[in-house]
Amino acid sequence: MLGRDEDILKAAEDWSKAGRGVAIATVVETWGSAPRPVGSNLVIDSDGNFLGSVSGGCVEGAVVTEAIDVIESGKPKTLEFGVADETAWQVGLSCGGTIRVYVEKVN
């Protein structure tokens, strides 16, 4: 796992040097059952390519969408994902936990 994380951050560096817009998403807090531990990274570029994970695949889609916003605005954002509820736009974690993900641009 450490080896893969290393590759992910190296990819962020390489992508950024190649002139691509890049954001790093990091799991900063978890409550209850969470699929990926605090510190896990997802790296996203402005075209929506991504590497790594912040969950078991449940919320990556939403994080990628938000990350593209962060790349455009340059402003970091903290996202929270919990158990899916009735609110149609909210993405949920099927495992019942809650996670908070910090998304920042590489610049």
């Binding site: 080896g3 510190g39 610049n107």
Partner: protein, 234 residues
């Protein structure tokens, strides 16, 4: 994250040096703290503890909440001696996430049949060890019982500041080792860093039980404050 921060972070990781990144998730301010500089950081105590535990997380400070990401190299284990204890110790350490290498110049011991899933080098320590990059995130265990093999290996480990150095053998054996290593120029302080008799005192008898006691001692050395080791050795 600034690109130069990311570059420094990746360079430190590639060099197998521990590093922390402190981020204010409210306003995005960020700083990178190398392990060597942690003691002089305003959050020294918190950062040093997190580096030791290898654990990232949120921290409340007097002013605000910050997120501390720690990047700690994955630990290595080098075992000198492809002996019976090593057959139990190697898979145990792999289960705990260690990158394991066994070194033993005696080809009858260092055979792939005896160690199907472990990197085994049938070389003398002076040949095998230099390319392994033994460092402070390495645990080092000498258990051939043969001074010709163990002694040069221990000298290498002490010079590389391994977080754990253990050597198999009774107190009497260790006393003789003391004389030999002192003659080779090892200081009292460095010699005291060798855990011997090796392993936690759990009454281990079988090779697998001895491996448990060694592995327990390695975990203790990695995770507990160094001060405690120093006290125990004094």
């Amino acid at each position: 994250m600034k690109l130069d921060t990311l570059q420094t972070l990746n360079a430190e990781r590639a060099a197998r040096r521990a590093v922390a990144v402190v981020t204010d998730t409210e306003n995005g301010t960020q700083r990178l703290v190398k392990a060597a500089d942690a003691a002089s950081d305003p959050l020294a105590e918190i950062i040093e503890k997190r580096l030791r535990m290898g654990k990232s997380g949120m921290e409340e400070t007097a002013q605000d909440r910050v997120f501390i990401t720690v990047h700690v190299p994955s630990p290595k284990l080098v075992i000198i001696g492809a002996v019976h204890i090593s057959q139990a110790l190697a898979p145990m350490a792999q289960m705990l996430g260690y990158d394991v290498t066994i070194v033993d110049p005696r080809t009858a011991f260092a055979s792939p049949e005896r160690f199907p899933d472990v990197k085994v080098l049938a070389e003398w320590p002076d040949v095998a060890l230099p390319p392994l990059g033994v460092d402070r995130y390495t645990a080092f265990v000498a258990c051939t019982h043969d001074p010709k093999i163990d002694d040069p290996a221990l000298l290498h480990a002490l010079a590389r500041d391994c977080f754990y150095v253990g050597a198999l053998g009774s107190r009497k054996t260790h006393g003789r080792r003391n004389e030999r290593l002192k003659a080779a120029g090892v200081s009292d302080v460095d010699f005291a860093r060798i855990h011997a008799p090796i392993g936690l005192d759990i009454g281990a008898i079988s090779p697998a039980e001895i491996a448990v006691s060694i592995m327990g001692e390695i975990v203790q050395s990695l995770r507990q404050k160094p001060a405690r080791d120093a006290k125990a050795a004094a």
